[in-house]
Symmetry: C2
Subunit: 100 residues, 2 copies
Amino acid sequence: MPDYPSPDMADVDLVEVMKALADPIRLHIVRVLADGEPKAKSLEGWGVDVTKSTMAHHFRILREAGLTHTLIDGRRHEIQLRRAELDAKFPGLIAAIVGE
Amino acid sequence: MPDYPSPDMADVDLVEVMKALADPIRLHIVRVLADGEPKAKSLEGWGVDVTKSTMAHHFRILREAGLTHTLIDGRRHEIQLRRAELDAKFPGLIAAIVGE
DNA sequence: GGGATAGTTCGATGATTGTCGAACTATTTC
DNA sequence: GAAATAGTTCGACAATCATCGAACTATCCC
């Protein structure tokens, strides 16, 4: 059983968050996740034309920066924006980049 | 008379803005400029320990991303955050990263 | 167990980035 | 005009990054 740890929100750094958001694919992912509901990582539905390994890379960057959690259900993974925690730590940030 | 053009706000791209903000020195500069008042580029006062050429590089990135204007007064340059325009185009973004 | 499916990790590659010192441009002052 | 001042531009360098294909791990299903 693999483990995909997200950092404590107390350790999340705004510069790292900004780096994670400074990429068109990751910004798109965050927008799709903006409602805070978990979404499957499976390729169909993201609408970006990159390989599985590239998507895995972007998911990892988002998670390690503290933006997302990974939920494991068998061989299916879901990704979830840590919306409430992020809103508490950086008020208005997600809303601003999502465009409300 | 050198010219330091800033892009039209209509052409400013959020991904480029995020890239510009995804650096500790540039984030610091933007925070210092947050009130929208122009500040001298001269090294004293920024409180960052890098060379003049590195600062010139960061000022250029901020300007080309559309975040700042450069004001020229003789051999003195001032830099100004385009606060009102940015607030209109990306509501809440500057406030969020400045930590209002 | 064997095959299929979902996703990660590894190594490589080319592009971009932050930094510096040196040279350069423009302006002010003597 | 010469010297000093403020800032930019130009290589160069090391580090980081986005991307890919191949190999790998883990799970589900027959």
